[in-house]
């Protein structure tokens, strides 16, 4: 009798389940989403990019995982909330999530050879989670903004040797007193500052890394002499230092790469800020505060805005360019006043700046308004905008991040008062 009642209840429940299952029970126990940022169709040889897949476990039990399809230029790397060897269990109906970090680091030898690897996560379920990692390693490109000639040099660069070659010139009608430039994390856009008319040129990047016709930014009220620019690593916010009115412009970036609405902010004691950079976690912005000979560190809020900044001691000399290593442990600051580059350690806490070592190996720096950029802790590229030298210094780095030697280059003689330098 009891069994009959149980069977009837089970039948009723299953009937209800059957009716509503497409609405309620369409749940896959384990899923993988991402990556963030999205994969680019091409990646520069010698560069390194991290993408993160998120695995969601809705099963209230711990599931072991193994990962396949990670070899060559595609490797697994530890990331925050890393899945490790197990997917943590869901708490009741609350799913658990963890991250799978993938590093994409194509080599010079792989240029032009398509990479098609299936990332496979085996979690002992019905079918492994799979994602296709597909891209073409291409020759890395370094862009140099020439204030003198009003164009952008686009050159191939071997990021394993630092050698720059095969420079061509890209001109666009929107360029007017170009100063700095930066590349979106996806590598699909290069943004160029027009300091003379306080606009930003948004230039799409072709598959081979060359620039194509630019569009002028639409919301320019927040730009007043934009001298230094950067984009956060999520590719969602754009930051510009306004040299003329000592403010920071913060703009959103829409899905097409265009700059959206911009706002102006004064998060700290800004005096002719000349360049800005974000750490790889997008949690802090560092500003070369040219007029005060300081560096500011400003927290980055979730909505992209800058919080209240803290300021270093005035140990710099007309800092014009600033960049940071991917670990967030070293700052590289161009000192136009002394023609040196300061390599500073970063400390946690309010007094964020540790010891700095300023140097000019080989005496090649002639910085003026030159900016700098870093390649995977291997090379620092410094634009020498001063003294009519028209060169870029390629500095090799030691294991502590210090400068070793900085030979200069100007292949094809296209550099003309180079101020901005960026890698793609």
């Amino acid at each position: 009798m009891n069994k009959d009642i149980f069977m009837n209840m089970k039948s009723v429940f299953m009937l209800i389940s059957l009716l509503v299952s497409p609405l309620v029970f369409a749940i896959q126990p384990v899923t993988m989403s991402g990556p963030i940022p999205a994969l680019s169709p091409t990646y520069s040889a010698g560069s390194s990019h991290t993408v993160i897949y998120t695995i969601t476990n809705r099963v209230p039990k711990c599931l072991p995982i193994t990962v396949e399809g990670i070899s060559g230029s595609v490797r697994r790397i530890p990331v925050p909330n890393d899945c490790g060897a197990f997917l943590p269990p869901a708490l009741g109906t609350i799913p658990s999530t963890c991250n799978l970090g993938i590093s994409i680091s194509p080599t010079q030898a792989g240029v032009g050879l398509p990479v098609n690897q299936i990332l496979q996560v085996n979690y002992q379920g019905r079918r492994p989670l799979q994602a296709l990692i597909s891209f073409i390693p291409r020759q890395s490109v370094i862009y140099v903004s020439n204030f003198g000639s009003g164009n952008v040099s686009q050159c191939f660069v071997n990021l394993e040797t630092g050698i720059i070659s095969q420079c061509s010139v890209f001109s666009d009608p929107s360029f007017l007193g170009i100063s700095d430039l930066t590349v979106s994390p996806s590598g699909k856009f290069v943004y160029v500052t027009n300091i003379s008319n306080s606009t930003i040129s948004e230039c799409p990047v072709q598959a081979n890394g060359m620039l194509s016709a630019c569009t002028v930014s639409s919301d320019n009220g927040a730009f007043v002499g934009p001298s230094g620019i950067t984009v956060n690593h999520a590719g969602t916010f754009f930051y510009a230092t306004n040299f003329f009115d000592s403010t920071i412009a913060v703009c959103s970036i829409n899905s097409t790469g265009r700059l959206g609405p911009c706002t102006q902010t004064i998060p700290g004691p800004l005096v002719q800020p000349n360049d800005i950079i974000l750490n790889s976690q997008d949690t802090f912005a560092y500003i070369a505060n040219n007029g005060a000979n300081t560096v500011l560190r400003c927290p980055v809020e979730a909505n992209g805005s800058l919080g209240l900044c803290t300021q270093s001691d005035p140990i710099f000399s007309s800092p014009t360019g600033i960049t940071i290593n991917s670990e967030g442990t070293k700052l590289y600051v161009n000192n136009a006043g002394t023609n040196t580059v300061s390599v500073c350690s970063i400390l946690p806490g309010t007094n964020f700046l540790g010891s700095c070592i300023s140097s000019n190996p080989g005496g090649t720096f002639n910085i003026a308004f030159g900016k700098n950029t870093l390649q995977s802790g291997s090379f620092l590229f410094v634009a020498n905008a001063g003294g009519g030298v028209n060169t870029v210094s390629v500095c090799s780095l030691n294991s502590q991040g210090g400068l070793i030697a900085c030979p200069t280059t100007n292949p094809n003689s296209t550099f003309s008062i180079p101020e901005g330098v960026a890698l793609n």
Partner: protein, 257 residues
């Protein structure tokens, strides 16, 4: 394969019976050795019964297979029997016949149900269907209990080998779940098991040799698994296994030679 075996055994039994009938018509009218033999055939509805089971994908994923319905295609049997001690047992008021039969039974149908991944209702993403056939060769003992006019009642007790064949197929019902997680088809597989029968029957004598029979038989047929043939690359630690039990009503004719 299973149905072919059943058909072959049934044909052999019918052929043997036909030869006995032919021998009976050719011989003298005195009681012959074959006169205690009988042949029988019957068919009727069948109620297959199985229990909820599990589908072991891996040591970390065990799914539930929950039975919703079983569609039955009926049952049939043919057999040949021999009445023991016919010289003196019919003189008794009770236990007046003891019939030994060799019967071939066959049932078939389809099990239908739901699949709950990880045995949780929120992961009810698939339905399954499992067509099955069971053919068994049973050695049945049928002691007759008592008779009233032309009607006799008897018990059925049997044992014998059974060949259970089943395949397994899932259908995705959750639109957001990838189709390639479905066990699209696990091929049929035949398991050989030992079966047991218990039941009761009634026999109505239409003539001295021809009887109408009605039997209720409960059969324990063991269990059966489909082949473990992965489709779409789905990993599967063990094929789904179903228990086979059946209740059958058989209406037929019995011809005593």
């Amino acid at each position: 394969m299973n149905q072919k075996v059943g058909s072959k055994i049934a044909c052999l039994i019918l052929w043997g019976a036909a030869m006995l009938v032919q021998a009976g018509t050719m011989g003298p009218s005195t009681r012959a050795w074959y006169t205690d033999f009988e042949i029988s055939g019957a068919g009727g509805p069948n109620w297959f019964r199985t229990d909820d089971t599990t589908l072991i994908i891996s040591p970390f994923e065990t799914d539930s297979n929950l039975i919703k319905t079983v569609s039955n295609r009926g049952a049939w049997k043919v057999g040949i029997g021999y009445y023991f001690f016919e010289d003196w047992l019919p003189t008794w008021n009770y236990l007046n016949h003891l019939l030994f039969e060799v019967n071939v039974y066959q049932i078939s149908g389809t099990i239908k149900g739901a699949v709950w991944q990880y045995q949780l209702p929120q992961f009810y993403n698939y339905n399954f269907r499992a067509p099955f056939t069971s053919t068994r060769l049973m050695f049945d003992f049928k002691p007759y209990l008592f008779a009233w006019n032309r009607i006799s009642s008897y018990l059925i007790l049997g044992v014998g080998p059974t060949w259970n064949t089943i395949s397994y197929r899932e259908k995705l019902i959750a639109p957001d779940v990838p189709a390639d997680t479905t066990l699209a088809f696990l091929d049929k597989y035949t398991s050989t098991r030992v079966a047991g029968d218990v039941g009761v029957g009634l026999s109505v004598n239409l003539t001295r040799s021809l009887s109408l029979t009605a039997e209720y038989v409960y059969g324990f047929l063991g269990n059966s698994s489909s082949a473990n043939s992965p489709t779409y690359g789905v990993l599967l630690a063990d094929a789904p296994s179903f228990s086979f039990k059946t209740q059958t009503l058989l209406f037929g004719l019995s011809l005593k030679l």
